[in-house]
């Protein structure tokens, strides 16, 4: 399934609505999620999973806590209904993205254009779904952040297809970023492989350093 296809498919299904080059969740799908949330039983994960057509352990990333189940499983159920088919792994990434869209969009004014803004307390689930990702943690009134943002935009002006790009507004998620990723302050760039932080750049770094680390993330295990 190619890049444009997934977004286009979600738009055709009425999950996403586009206007002026911006996308949002449709009201109908938002309502569908809420209805699923209110009618699903979360007492046993097995019971919930039986309500969703899915193959095997596809939804396992969303089952590590009750909070996670309540957040993501209704979306999976609503998506299944919209698709009218089994929720397969190809649709997996759409679930946390839809979740982000269902909420107020996180701050993004200080993040590079192509970095998808996410709520920091939901980062762990999101990162577990991507083999390679960059997370840019930033804050306002931060001159090093401004410089690092420019560097990231220069390095990633031609967005890689094999690395997901996310941004987090650090001050709003300071506790969870610290607890989960030992990340304190800004700017910080996390280079994440299969959900684990492989390395990080703290503070301002030169373009060649960011390029080198991005290359390592992309190429160390062979081209994708």
């Amino acid at each position: 399934m190619k890049n444009g296809t997934l977004v286009d498919r979600l738009t055709r299904l009425g999950v996403l609505v586009e206007s002026d080059n911006r996308l949002r969740l449709s009201e109908s799908f938002d309502s569908a999620i809420e209805e699923c949330r209110s009618t699903m039983s979360f007492s046993e994960p097995r019971d919930v999973l039986e309500e969703i057509r899915t193959d095997g352990e596809t939804l396992q990333p969303f089952l590590d806590s009750k909070e996670s189940e309540k957040r993501y499983l209704p979306i999976a159920r609503a998506l299944e209904s919209a698709l009218d088919q089994t929720v397969t792994s190809e649709w997996l990434r759409a679930i946390p993205i839809i979740d982000q869209l269902a909420d107020t969009t996180p701050r993004s004014s200080g993040a590079p254009e192509l970095f998808f803004p996410v709520h920091g307390d939901r980062l762990q689930v999101l990162l577990s779904l991507y083999p390679r990702s960059l997370v840019y943690i930033w804050r306002e009134d931060c001159e090093p952040c401004d410089r690092m943002c420019e560097t990231l935009e220069a390095v990633l002006s031609d967005p890689p297809e094999d690395v997901a790009l996310f941004s987090v507004y650090g001050p709003e998620y300071a506790d969870s970023l610290w607890e989960t990723y030992d990340a304190y302050g800004a700017p910080i760039v996390l280079f994440v492989r299969d959900g684990s932080v492989e390395t990080r750049l703290v503070g301002v770094h030169h373009q060649v350093v960011v390029e080198n680390e991005t290359d390592i993330l992309r190429n160390d295990w062979g081209p994708v």
Binding site: V7, S109, E161
Partner: protein, 600 residues
């Protein structure tokens, strides 16, 4: 990028299409991420993912540019450092050359743009007293908003030793404190030493018999003994090269570079004491000096036969005036550190009493050697307008062994011996001429226009050796030199084991062979001071990087391995799994008194 103001931000539920495309468009593996079989480290030498922490990211090594021969040396050394760290420790390194002021400004402000800085310290004779250099690494200077500490090294034991020695009058006790500070610094690998600087020069024996150069101070334009003791063998004049700053102004206290002092504080004027060609402190205009038991009163007796170039006696009043001028106008004079004094008294014609607020041993080991005694009548107007003052260049009156025949600002100065100096008796005139760049110096020397050239790069000296068989050359290890300043406050360089390992694997032999033509021995101990510096403790009291001048990869790896570091299957270095990667203090802040009690 669409602008979203804060109000709009609070209620916005839309996202730029390109961002969603990027997030949804990345390739996924079939099934769950992580089930591809590669794991997060792709296998590793330690055997399991749990045994490796995060990978050490690419390190940035900066060196400073725009400094002629010094930059050429650093530019040659930097790729060797890069290769050694990459090949031997599995750490990628990016090398960045930037102007000195930019690099220093970044490090001194703890901006964390460069993980390591490759640079040198200049062998200024005032640094033969270690106070200035030791003070640079005290904890109170580290971090943002503080005076600046190029390595952002913060250790209270070190800081206390450094501070205490400043006010310890007893020489033996002071030496012990200095040694303790240097030992602590070496144990902490405050710097990664590479080599001493080379002080190199050349001369034409048929034009000059060079003296004062081969007892330790070398052919350095900061060594006045080369000028005192070198004699013309053909005619009565020795011509040498000068740095433009040396003849930039007659109002020399306003100049930031120490290079100007050779002319104005040693040749044209003489100080009370100075470091000789063996780097030992000796009396010049001071016949003797004593300190009171509590070290706060220093009494100086001048030679009673010392005169200025116009015959005026050099008196206690001239000494009093000189130091009042400097210390009361420290804001205008960048090389002056205002000393906390109660009074300076001219007790009689030849006796001066310095009454200091605290014991101040640096007065005679660092301050007096820096400043020549000025002719009060000539310099009195400077007291009112220190920044704008200038001397009448047709009538420069000094206290030194040379008097001024001619001064052409920015170009040249001509000096002739002053026969009534109480200590020195130079035999020949000195012409110190400015040339633009090392190539023009070489050409002028080759053409016989210059008798002797001082402080040249080894590339010039090598050319002279190759192309001018009748010329003589001399090289000397300096007491300061080249090193890497690792940033102690954050990142991989925060860890002692990493600094130790980096220091162990460097091929100093190769760097010296390529950058310094093999002229010096490698510096194997992590100190700023090098072998000839009088303050160094014996080597057995210091931590040693390695015994191998070519570096020892296995030693470096062993140091890391023992501390839990490891390498993945791509050969890249990883932190220990339990490594605390948080900086010692947040960027933009400075060490806290809670963590560093010496700052309370």
């Amino acid at each position: 990028m669409p602008v979203i103001d804060s109000e709009e931000q609070d209620s916005d539920t839309t996202v730029n299409r390109r961002r969603i495309l990027q997030a949804l468009g990345t390739t996924t593996v079939a099934g769950l991420a992580g089930c591809s079989g590669t794991g997060s480290n792709g296998g590793n030498t330690a055997g399991s993912n749990d045994e490796l922490g995060e990978r050490v990211p690419t390190q940035t090594l900066a060196y400073w540019t725009g400094l002629g021969g010094t930059t050429a040396t650093l530019e040659t050394m930097a790729p060797v450092v890069q290769k050694n760290l990459q090949d031997r420790l599995g750490v990628d390194v990016e090398v960045q050359g930037r102007e000195l002021t930019a690099v220093l400004g970044s490090a001194m402000g703890d901006k964390r743009e460069y993980d390591m800085i490759l640079g040198t310290n200049a062998p200024d004779p005032s640094r033969l007293d270690p106070t200035e250099v030791l003070g640079m690494y005290e904890a109170g200077r580290a971090g943002a908003g503080n005076p600046g500490n190029i390595a952002n090294y913060a250790d209270c034991s070190y800081t206390e030793f450094s501070q205490q020695q400043r006010t310890t009058i007893d020489e033996a006790e002071r030496a012990d404190l200095i040694h303790s500070a240097i030992q602590q610094f070496s144990e902490d690998v405050g710097v990664i030493a590479i080599s001493p600087r080379v002080i190199a020069g050349a001369w034409h024996p048929d034009q000059v018999s060079v003296g004062g150069h081969d007892s330790g101070a070398g052919m350095d334009p900061l060594n006045p003994y080369v000028y005192y003791e070198s004699e013309a063998t053909d005619g009565d004049t020795v011509v040498s090269n000068a740095n433009a700053v040396m003849v930039s102004t007659t109002n020399f206290p306003t100049v930031a570079s120490p290079r100007i002092h050779i002319i104005w504080s040693h040749l044209i004027n003489s100080p009370l004491v100075e470091y000789d060609d063996s780097l030992e402190l000796r009396n010049v205009l001071a016949e003797e000096y004593t300190a009171s038991e509590d070290g706060t009163t220093i009494t100086v007796t001048l030679h009673d036969d010392a005169t200025f170039h116009n015959g005026d006696p050099v008196t206690a009043e001239d000494v009093r005036f000189t130091y009042k001028l400097l210390w009361d106008n420290a804001d205008a004079y960048p090389q002056v550190t205002a000393m906390p004094y109660e009074s300076i008294e001219a007790v009689d014609e030849t006796t001066v009493e310095f009454n200091m607020k605290n014991p101040t041993p640096v007065l005679f080991t660092k301050v007096w050697p820096r400043w020549g005694i000025l002719h009060k009548e000539s310099w009195k107007p400077a007291m009112e307008n220190p920044a704008e003052f200038s001397l009448d260049t047709d009538n420069i009156i000094g206290s030194g062994p040379f008097q001024v025949d001619s001064f052409r600002q920015g170009q040249m100065i001509q000096l002739s011996p002053y026969g009534d100096h109480p200590v020195f008796n130079p035999k020949s005139r000195q012409v110190m001429q400015v040339f633009q760049g090392s190539e023009s110096v070489f050409r002028a020397f080759q053409n016989g226009q210059i008798s002797m050239i001082l402080m040249q790069g080894m590339d010039t000296i090598t050319r002279i050796r190759d192309e001018m068989e009748n010329a003589k050359t001399h090289t000397q290890d300096s007491y300061l030199g080249a090193q890497i300043w690792p940033q102690h406050s954050y990142g991989a360089t925060k860890f002692l084991k990493f600094r130790q390992a980096a220091g162990a694997v460097l091929d100093r032999q190769q760097m010296i062979a390529q950058a310094q033509y093999g002229e010096v021995d490698p510096s194997l101990y992590p100190t700023i001071f090098r072998g000839s510096h009088p303050s160094l403790p014996s080597e057995d009291q210091l931590y040693k990087h390695t015994d191998d001048p070519a570096g020892n990869e296995e030693r470096g790896r062993q140091l890391l391995r023992e501390a839990g570091w490891g390498w993945d299957n791509n050969g890249r270095l990883h932190y220990p799994p339990d490594a605390d990667l948080t900086p010692l203090w947040p960027q933009g802040e400075s060490p806290s008194p809670e963590e560093y009690p010496c700052l309370q």
